[in-house]
């Protein structure tokens, strides 16, 4: 009888430990997948913004008007990917299943762009010709709540 009692106490303790550990792990890893995905999307967006072409941060020495809204927009909304990007910018395959996976994944994120001329802190502070500070912010919700991650870069126009 004592034996069973001891066994039950041990089992209960083990279960409590296990649940605590799982709870800790869940909290600790909450959003790591989304965070990794957010980083990957941010890198891709930054590559497009910092590269040349119509999606670059600047067009003809002016800030690309596609990046001037300054508000969070769905990375993948009902009308598709936030302009000026396209689905193909984020997928490396035409496989429908992967495309669907991308859409499902992308729907979790909102994105905001921020571009302005780089301000050399000085003293005195002064803008640097042809150099732009770019910031891509991604926002998503996970078990810990709303999370925002900011990815800064520098763009130099040729």
């Amino acid at each position: 009888m004592v034996e069973i009692l001891v066994a039950m106490v041990l089992l209960a303790t083990g279960v409590i430990f296990a649940l605590s550990a799982i709870s800790y792990a869940t909290k600790a890893t909450a959003g790591t997948t989304q965070s990794t995905e957010a980083t990957a999307y941010a890198r891709k967006i930054l590559e497009l913004m910092l590269g040349s072409g119509p999606k670059s941060a600047c067009l003809s020495a002016g800030i690309n008007p596609a990046y001037t809204s300054g508000v969070f927009q769905p990375l993948y909304g009902p009308d598709g990917v936030v302009p000026p990007f396209q689905e193909a910018d984020f997928t490396i395959t035409s496989d429908p299943a992967e495309a669907a996976q991308f859409r499902e994944s992308a729907r979790q994120f909102e994105v905001k762009f921020w571009v302005r001329q780089y301000l050399d802190p000085g003293p005195p502070p002064s803008p640097m010709l042809g150099l732009y500070a770019v910031d891509v912010q991604l926002r998503w919700r996970d078990r810990l709540g709303v999370r925002v991650s900011s990815f800064p870069g520098l763009y130099r126009q040729e």
């Binding site: 792990a25 600047c58 870069g153």
Partner: protein, 802 residues
């Protein structure tokens, strides 16, 4: 009971086993979860570090562009550091982390880097390159050992384009002091390293800042079917939106077997003047009648009548050999307006200057005796690039002073003749006639003139005096004669002879003379013959001693003996042989020691020859080590530039009214009057090396278009006129002015044309048909000190751990 006793303890054992499993699971969770969280964080931090260190490279590039294309000190290593984001420091150990630059050995190769301890380097100041809240980059910009006149090079100027090594290290600045403070636990996270070569404007086959018609509805790049050569074989840039006209539409898109008119990229920054030309275009380029002043698909390389348009790559490849990828939208490339670097190179270093710059006299040529920079302080009637053989015979010019070919051997002679003539008076015994009265039969011609046409009168031009002005000149009065003997001279432009020469000796005085001002007018004359018998006027020859006015445009030259000794003859400068010259026109060389008449320039040395500025009767000579390094500065216009260039050179014409001759800010015009050929390259062939690049920088560059010149190049049997040069009309155009009314000549530019405003080479249907071949060596080995355009070639790039 027996059974129960046998199983006693089993539950406890099972529970222990389950507990062990649970503990193992928990232990693995405690191990794996932090790892996963750390990996996720690492991924984010790596992303931040990546963009921070690459941002540092971009910051350095933006800074170099700002400095190199700006005003003031354009050598970044010599800039005052007060407001600069970088400061010049001495790096004691370039091999330390995070620089890790190796090796510290100079193997003597050009465009090769080495990093000895004590090397000067530009280092970013703390906190100047900050991304987001706390990520920073620390950047070092190292000079290439050959390419800038920075302190590392003791101020010496290289002909190579500047190169840099940039190292950028990213770190998280947790304590906010702007530096990677390792004592506070901060560490460099990632390191980017890049090698760069600076571009110059010489890399463009064609560059235009803005179109001639700022309404831009008439000036276009017109492309036609069946052209056997590209119009532009190299890069083209337009600050304004370029407009391409495809007048033949479908016929052009359908043709096969012909090269695309644009052989390189077409970059542009966008509309500068109204009306807008590119905003409605799919790719930003204006297409005449395709999107600009029309919307027809036949006249553009993309399809569709409205958004969304779609690119037709096949059509793009008909226009651009690189397809649509050739179109690049870039920032505006500002034309330089500060020519201090070129002026400094022309005047040369302080030690070798013949005079202090501020005390240089007008209409003189100064040659720096240590680095052989060449400056003319006056406008030039002619700047001639000649190549002479070992005996001083020109191998370029014929007896009509036309450029005939590009020789494969010979020595460069840079011949500069001033535009402003020197006028002087000399007391001379001159032949004249006197009139006396004779008697007897006579027959004389009587000339009647009229300002208006009359029957029996013929028109003739004459020089009418319309006024006068005064001028102070030197008056020479002969006091005696000195005799010297001239050995047989070399050829030069004209063959020479020998003989005994009388050199008059003079005293001098300054006098004020009246100088008539004249203009050409037409009058009408009738000549009649009258006969008679009795007293009448007759003339007879006599002599009289009087002041005779002389004019001459002084000439100077620099002769570079590169391959071996060269004899430079006395009569090189004379348009006629010595035997037909009068004695007082004969040039007497005044070298050190006794007067010499014939100079042999040893290999590796240069001879500086200067005509005197009194009577032009003597030349002084100076022998110096080395050969000209390549920059020739002229303060004033150049009315004739022609010849064959050996050794890379940049010729620039600064404004004659430049106050500070070390900092010219405006330019003068240059006129090209014949071929500008490339040494050892047959006219029409592409250069096989970058050793003889020629750059010409002026306000406007005018292509001469006289009937004589056009007629030499306007028949199928006659060769085109070739210009092997980067022609930079930085304040105006490459153009013709009032071309002669003869058939158009054929012009081939092997190099580049760069202009502020598109200039006409055809006016009123006359002038030059032009084609632009491309000398790719101008990109690699541009003419010396050719202005940078602010772009860079990245030759090496890598990202590593610190």
């Amino acid at each position: 009971m027996k059974r129960g006793r046998g199983y006693r303890g089993f539950v406890l054992a099972a529970v222990f086993f389950i507990m062990v499993v649970i503990i193992l699971l928990i232990a693995s969770l405690f191990r794996l979860v932090p790892q996963e969280v750390r990996w996720t964080g690492d991924h984010r931090r790596e992303t931040f570090a990546y963009y921070a260190c690459t941002g540092g490279i971009k910051h350095a590039l933006a800074y170099l562009r700002q400095v190199r294309t700006g005003t003031g000190q354009t050598d970044p290593y010599l800039r005052p550091a007060s407001n600069e984001p970088y400061e010049s420091v001495t790096e004691s150990s370039p091999s330390r982390s995070p620089l890790r630059l190796l090796p510290p050995v100079d193997n003597g190769q050009p465009l090769d880097t080495y990093f000895p301890s004590g090397i000067p380097v530009l280092h970013s100041k703390p906190g100047r390159i900050r991304l987001g809240d706390d990520w920073n980059a620390e950047v070092w910009i190292f000079p290439d050992k050959n390419t800038l006149p920075h302190p590392f090079m003791a101020g010496k100027t290289s002909k190579l384009p500047p190169c840099y090594i940039i190292v950028s290290a990213a770190f998280r600045d947790t304590n906010g002091n702007g530096i990677c403070d390792t004592s506070s636990g901060e560490n460099y996270a990632l390191r980017a390293e890049s090698s760069l070569v600076e571009h110059t404007f010489a890399r463009y086959a064609y560059f235009v800042d803005r179109w001639k018609d700022e309404g831009a509805n008439t000036t276009v790049f017109r492309v036609k079917t069946g052209s056997p050569n590209p119009i532009f074989a190299g890069p083209v840039h337009s600050n304004d939106t370029p407009v391409i006209d495809v007048p033949e539409g479908l016929a052009f898109w359908g043709q096969t077997g012909f090269p695309a008119p644009f052989g390189g990229e077409l970059s542009f920054s966008g509309d500068v003047f109204a009306p807008t030309k590119g905003i409605t275009s799919f790719d930003g380029v204006g297409y005449f009648k395709g999107n600009f002043l029309g919307n027809a698909e036949d006249f553009r390389p993309y399809r569709g009548s409205s958004e969304p348009y779609r690119a037709d790559e096949d059509r793009y490849k008909k226009l651009f050999s690189k397809g649509q990828a050739a179109i690049q939208r870039t920032s505006r490339l500002e034309l330089p307006n500060d020519w201090a670097r070129l002026a400094a190179a022309a005047w040369g270093d302080n030690a070798g200057r013949e005079v202090a710059v501020e005390s240089a006299q007008p209409d003189q040529v100064y040659v720096n005796t240590s680095d052989l920079g060449i400056v003319s302080t006056g406008a030039l009637r002619e700047l001639r690039l000649d190549v002479v053989d070992n005996n001083g015979h020109s191998t370029v010019f014929n007896s009509q002073m036309q450029v005939t070919n590009a020789p494969n051997s010979g020595h460069q002679v840079v011949n500069l003749q001033q535009l402003n003539e020197i006028t002087f008076l000399r007391q001379e015994t001159v032949p004249t006639t006197e009139t006396y009265t004779a008697t007897g039969p006579y027959t004389v011609d009587q000339t009647l003139t009229s300002d208006t046409p009359l029957d029996g009168y013929s028109p003739e031009l004459y020089e009418a005096t319309i006024g006068s002005t005064t001028r102070e000149v030197i008056r020479y009065v002969q006091t005696g004669v000195s005799t010297i003997v001239d050995p047989p001279g070399g050829g030069g432009p004209a063959s020479g002879g020998g003989g005994t020469i009388s050199i008059p000796l003079y005293t001098t005085a300054t006098v004020t003379i009246s100088v008539p001002q004249t203009e050409m007018r037409t009058r009408y004359v009738q000549v009649t013959t009258i006969s008679g018998d009795g007293p009448h006027d007759e003339t007879r020859a006599t002599t009289v001693v009087e002041d005779v006015t002389h004019h001459y445009a002084p000439q100077d030259a620099v002769v570079a003996a590169v391959d071996g000794p060269v004899r430079f003859p006395v009569n090189y400068f004379l348009p006629t042989t010595t035997t037909t010259s009068t004695s007082n026109e004969f040039p007497v060389f005044e070298g050190s020691g006794a007067p010499v008449l014939d100079i042999t320039v040893p290999q590796g040395k240069s001879l500086i020859v200067k005509q005197d500025r009194q009577t032009g009767g003597t030349f002084s000579v100076k022998m110096v080590d080395g050969v000209p390094k390549g920059v020739i500065g002229v303060f004033g216009q150049v009315d004739s530039l022609r010849g064959v260039n050996r050794g890379s050179k940049t010729i620039f014409a600064a404004s004659a009214s430049t106050a500070d001759r070390l900092r010219p800010t405006s330019l003068a015009n240059v006129t090209v009057t014949d071929h500008l050929l490339h040494y050892a390259t047959a006219p029409g062939a592409l250069p096989t090396n970058g050793d003889h690049a020629l750059g010409v920088i002026a306000a406007n560059i005018t292509m001469a278009s006289t009937s004589d010149l056009l007629n030499l190049h306007n028949t199928p049997a006659s060769p085109p006129l070739y210009l092997y040069a980067a022609l930079f009309a930085a304040e105006g155009s490459f153009q013709v002015i009032a071309p002669a009314t003869v058939p158009r000549g054929e012009l081939r530019v092997v190099g580049g044309v760069l202009q502020k405003v598109v200039g006409p080479l055809i006016a009123g249907g006359r002038g030059w048909n032009s084609q632009y071949l491309y000398d790719n060596y101008l990109n690699i080995n541009p003419p010396p000190i050719f202005p940078p355009d602010g772009r860079f070639d990245v030759t090496f790039y890598r990202i590593t751990g610190p």
